[in-house]
């Protein structure tokens, strides 16, 4: 079946612009995660949803970052007033159930470059 998809795959933004990154999880997956991967680093957790409820947003680096999943399926990560340090690959992952042992299935990522 279809995997996790993300759009756009690449985004170039001018400093100060707002951006919106979309994630389509695997159908029926309850949990959805966002991670940020800086160049040469491992992914870092941003936030997590169980259905439409955002249960953990401890990894969001500032109040410029906002995520939503209003109908418990598609999710959007929004970054307001982008800064150069926001340049990274943003990864979305989904898992079937809410459980620490569940396998997370990752999308290809959105590469954001802020000029």
């Amino acid at each position: 079946g279809a995997g996790v998809s993300q759009s756009p795959r690449y985004k170039v933004a001018k400093r100060g612009q707002d951006v919106a990154l979309r994630c389509d999880p695997i159908s029926g997956h309850v949990s959805l995660f966002w991670y940020q991967q800086a160049l040469g680093q491992g992914p870092e957790f941003l936030t997590y949803f169980q259905n439409e409820a955002q249960l953990d947003k401890s990894g969001l680096p500032s109040d410029r970052f906002f995520a939503e999943r209003p109908e418990g399926s598609v999710s959007t990560l929004k970054i307001q007033r982008t800064q150069q340090e926001d340049s990274a690959v943003y990864l979305c992952a989904s898992s079937l159930r809410r459980a620490s042992q569940e396998t997370q299935y990752f999308g290809p990522g959105t590469r954001l470059l802020v000029l």
Partner: protein, 114 residues
Amino acid sequence: AQSVTQLDSQVPVFEEAPVELRCNYSSSVSVYLFWYVQYPNQGLQLLLKYLSGSTLVKGINGFEAEFNKSQTSFHLRKPSVHISDTAEYFCAVSAYNQGGKLIFGQGTELSVKP
């Protein structure tokens, strides 16, 4: 809090040679352990995971890993690598009952040469 350390940022190896990618973790609570692989221009893919039971875990593509609780390690091994194993490998942990948030290491770039 949890942390993961991958001791080698780059591992060059010749084709058909054995390889070990090292991973150590730190956690105040019990964790599950994972290895993910990232091929060029592709998303992260699960190689294997340790949940409980036998400390030797077998995964896809001939990889295996051994959980060592006393040394807080979860090293990844393959007895004979192929050119197609060239990729970035990430070790990760997930704490019990915390919803599944993964804490990743910095990654190890495996480069297999002919």
